[in-house]
Amino acid sequence: MNMISLTALDLGLAALLVICVALISWRLRLGNSSQILLAAVRTTLQLLLIGMVLKVLFAASNPVWIALMALIMLLAAGREVMSRQKRRFAGSWGYSMGTSSMFISSFSITVLALLVMVEPQPWYQPRYAIPLLGMLLGNTMNGIALALDNLTHNAWDKRPVIEARLTLGMTWSEAISDIRRDSIRVGMIPIINAMAIAGLVSLPGMMTGQILAGSPPLEAVKYQILIMFLIAAGTGFGTISAVMLGCRRLFDERERLRLDRLR
């Protein structure tokens, strides 16, 4: 590998640019300068931490530690899905709906990709497993958060319409069908867009990283295509599952719209 190692000075110069932006936004009274700085500090600490964790994890290659790491990533993504919703499901549902959907989609697809497509030895080798899972989780998380937010927001706003359909004798599933379709579609928009513009407007991050690290471009491209497909599948399955669960939860056993289950 013929990668150029970055020095602390390099990173410090880049950090100065962020501080400039924060200063300007403070002058413009955008009210988000502390947010910018805090996020920058968070990203530094979190990435340094994960760098050290990965170093240990790669050296040990212990399946229990890898599973634990995967679980922590999943739970963090589940929390993020929940916090991105304005009206989320109350109680444990708010958390478990997104988390279980991500588990179904991201986990199973990562395992499938490792066992059937990438085939490292052993299959759970963390150098492949953790970044793959991370990319899948990050993207399905976006899709699921968008879709669930759309679902709960629309169910709240369109309560009269949903109830009008119920009063006319439609089933709960018919009464929310258009909102359900819409929410699933919204959840899939980012990955469809990403696939459509990949390589034209932006070079996807993973591919860029591999190229910077010295991989032949075509090898990097093959990986990127694989990842795109996996993400598309994961986002699709995850979004569908989360929205289906969410729709069911919006109605009770007597097919009543229960907005009191949101908060």
């Binding site: 009008a164 119920l166 009063t167 006319l168 004798g169 009770d252 097919e255 009191d260």
Partner: protein
């Protein structure tokens, strides 16, 4: 002959004030009409929603001896037609709300079939109200739960709508529960009248 039996029926809608969730015992045999009146917030609409099973509720409701919990909810709501005070429309065109249905009483309600091509956004509140009634009756409910069905209509139209509802009730032997602020109207249309005082008490009006 349809018979609606309410036994200790009361709304348990989350977040509703207790005094609005009064208990009602009543047997209503079609085409009889029960009129409900009372101040705003006395729970008239909540009661209709409870009967239509749109909110959680206590007590029992049955139609022709069939308890509502013994059939799936959407079947119950097909049989027990509820007309809310504000009609909701989910599509831009009126006709989309009548797909697969024979529109009921367009002529008597002052429409012809061209209304199916109209845009919902351009309907007046009175037109909406009359079309919502037609939309409901097109589905041949066996009971009518009407929440202020003539609130946005002028006096002539009001009388016309009252006639249409009474005709439907006679033709289908359908019991009616009619919520109205207009006591004169209830005098005209209802066979039994109840006054809700807003504190959870019910008083029969003679």
């Amino acid at each position: 002959m349809s018979q609606l039996v309410l036994d200790d029926l009361h709304s348990l809608a989350p977040g509703s004030p207790a005094q609005a969730c009064f208990h009602l015992n009543f047997e209503l045999t079609g085409p009889a009409c029960l009129g409900l009146t009372g101040p705003s917030g006395s729970g008239k609409s909540l009661l209709l929603r409870a009967i239509a099973d749109l909110d959680p509720s206590g007590g029992t409701a049955s139609l022709d001896g069939i308890d509502r919990n013994s059939i799936v909810a959407h079947q119950w709501r097909t049989r027990v037609g509820y007309l809310s005070a504000d009609s909701a429309w989910w599509s831009d065109q009126v006709g989309d709300h009548f797909i697969g249905l024979q529109p009921y009483g367009f002529e008597k309600l002052g429409f012809n079939d061209s209304v199916l091509n109209w845009s919902v956004a351009r309907l007046s509140s009175g037109e909406r109200q009359r079309l919502a009634l037609s939309r409901l009756l097109s589905r041949s409910p066996e009971v009518m739960l009407l929440d202020e069905p003539t609130a946005s209509l002028d006096p002539d139209r009001t009388i016309a709508v009252e006639t249409i509802i009474a005709d439907y009730a006679r033709a289908h032997n359908a019991p009616i529960i009619w919520v109205s602020h207009d006591k004169d109207q209830l005098q005209r249309v209802a066979h039994h009248r109840l006054l809700l005082d807003g504190n959870g008490h019910i008083e029969a009006l003679s």
